[in-house]
């Protein structure tokens, strides 16, 4: 697979030249391939959100470059807007950006800015709403009358409707109930599989990351400290803990069980995996 997004020595400093100066992102070099799902984890204030906003050109890096395909996205200011259509960014609490009279109009804001014809817009709204799990009858309601979870879906649909090659979601499940989290995550996964596009998912939930990520990017104090498969990253439990992160709960439990001498395999990341292994083990021992 070819490299789609690449950063070179990417740095960003807030409030440069004032006493409040703070380096949020230091020398980040990452390469993201087409079709990958990248989970991004890091403690609050580790520079995740800043990095994500540089990837679609909302924040101009203090130094360094972002390449989308082969072009430097900041090279030409006029094409920055097109970059934002190609790299869709869903902010934290995106429901705070809803503004139109109806959900349908709000979702079509992005595609309309792209200058698409009305028919294409209608089509995109429909498919985006479906991917985000919004029911058809909600489309003609005011976004302000929806429930919290529905608002979140509507806002996410607003970005999906631009059909971006890369979809970045900054903590999309924050503040949702457990059911809402699970379904939303499943929908993001389904969307990724249907469109075969690249997804970057920022999350504080290691369980979510373990479930859908191909690779995990770990940010710590502005540095990109790891970019490896979930198995490799979550095998470094001690290092993660020092950075204020942890491994998925199920990984911790299975590690503890292994230490007690129960022969489970290393690096179990999801409950499903653990379930399969444990039942297999119990069957082998003839207990069930």
């Amino acid at each position: 697979m070819s490299t789609l997004l690449k950063t070179e020595n990417l740095c960003f400093t807030y409030a440069k030249g004032t006493p409040f100066e703070k380096q949020a992102v230091k020398n980040v070099n990452i390469e993201i391939k087409k079709g990958e799902v990248i989970g991004v984890i890091g403690h609050t204030g580790s520079g995740k959100s800043t990095l994500m906003q540089m990837l679609n050109g909302l924040i101009k890096p203090t130094s360094g470059t972002v390449y989308l395909g082969d072009t430097d996205i900041f090279e030409n200011k006029k094409t920055l807007r097109d970059v934002r259509f190609r790299v869709g960014l869903v902010f934290q609490y995106p429901e705070n950006q809803l503004f139109e009279e109806t959900v349908r109009k709000d979702i079509s804001f992005g595609p309309r800015n792209m200058g698409l014809p009305e028919e294409a817009i209608a089509k995109r709204v429909k498919s985006a709403a479906k991917f985000a799990g919004l029911k058809d009858e909600l489309l003609d309601r005011s976004p302000f009358d929806l429930s919290g979870g529905e608002k979140r879906r509507a806002a996410i649909a607003g970005v999906i409707a631009m059909d971006p090659e890369i979809l970045i979601l900054d903590e999309p499940t924050a503040g949702l109930d457990p059911m809402g989290r699970d379904t939303l995550l499943a929908q993001i996964d389904a969307y990724h599989k249907a469109r075969a596009n690249t997804v970057l998912l920022v999350s504080h939930s290691m369980e979510d990351i373990a479930r859908i990520a191909d690779r995990v990017l770990v940010m710590y104090k502005g540095d990109c400290v790891m970019l490896q498969s979930p198995k490799e990253v979550f095998a470094r439990a001690e290092e993660l803990e020092q950075m204020g992160l942890r491994v998925p709960q199920i990984t911790r439990i299975t590690t503890l069980l292994r230490e007690k001498g129960i022969p489970l395999s290393e690096g179990i990341l999801t409950v499903d995996e653990a379930f399969a292994e444990i039942t297999a083990l119990l069957k082998k021992e003839g207990r069930i």
Partner: protein, 266 residues
């Protein structure tokens, strides 16, 4: 970024002006402003200028911040100075077409420019050295006598405190919403004026919605803590007047006497 507004922002430092009683500071500022506009000759102006320079130095706030707040009104100063230049009575020393410059005109424009500069500098010392809570606290105390006219001074002060408290929050919120809409391709930098105004709708509506939501939440939180206005409330931080406040009053009284004497005898 929008967050760079400095006009009148509290600057924490350990200057003597920071420790003055805010009520005294407000009253003395008002007195000094009257004084600035009651200077009728250069000697009197010199005295108040010395006063302002002394307070700027004593405030221990970097001069850069004062200059920054000055930048915002430099245009106003220049405009009034230039206008005053042409409105003086007496013998013209320079005449061309409709423009007539007299000695009195030059005198006027120098005075008005210096006065505005002094006014802004002195008001800035107040806002730089007094935290917004102290300031509203002081205003509430000073407005107390208005209570006999059934004016709810506590409520007014509370509204001011809340408004000040939410300025940075709303600025941050605006920044966030702008980024979110830009991420959906909102274009705020091009097009004619009508197009640009229309481009503000996706920012203003979410901003209003969130401001109302915050207001509602705050009202709820205040009610949960049984907030019920001014009557019978005690304060965590009592204001106390001390020796340094007395010294400040004496200094301003002396300056006033000096200005009056200059005006009469020189």
């Amino acid at each position: 970024m929008i967050g760079d507004i400095t006009l009148g922002q509290y600057y924490p430092a350990k200057g003597i002006l920071h420790r003055l009683d805010p009520r005294i500071k407000v009253l003395l500022l008002m007195a000094s402003i009257v004084l600035i506009f009651c200077t009728f000759n250069f000697y009197a102006l010199g005295i108040v200028t010395a006063l302002v320079i002394a307070s700027v130095i004593m405030s221990k706030v970097p001069l850069k911040l004062y200059l920054k707040s000055m930048k915002a009104i430099i245009f106003v100063i220049l405009l009034t100075a230039v206008l005053n230049l042409f409105y003086g009575a007496g013998e013209p020393i320079f005449e061309w077409w409709v423009f007539r410059i007299t000695r009195a005109g030059i005198h006027n424009s120098i005075f008005i420019a210096v006065r505005i500069v002094l006014l802004v500098m002195l008001s800035s010392t107040l806002t730089f050295t007094t935290s917004p809570t102290d300031l509203t606290d002081a205003l509430e105390r000073l407005m107390k006598p208005l209570g006999i006219f059934k004016i709810k001074t506590h409520e007014i002060a509370m509204m001011m405190t809340i408004a000040l408290r939410f300025v940075p929050t709303l600025l941050e919120e605006t920044d966030k919403i702008m980024s979110a809409q830009k991420a959906r391709g909102a274009d705020m930098e091009s097009g004619n004026i009508l197009k640009r105004i229309k481009a503000l709708i996706p920012i203003l509506i979410p901003l209003f919605v969130s401001a109302f939501r915050r207001a509602y939440e705050l009202a709820m939180a205040m009610e949960c803590r049984c907030y019920q206005g001014g009557s019978g409330r005690t304060r965590m931080k009592q204001l106390h007047m001390g020796a340094r406040d007395a010294v400040a009053i004496i200094i301003i009284a002396l300056v006033t006497a000096g200005v009056v004497l200059c005006n009469i005898f020189l």
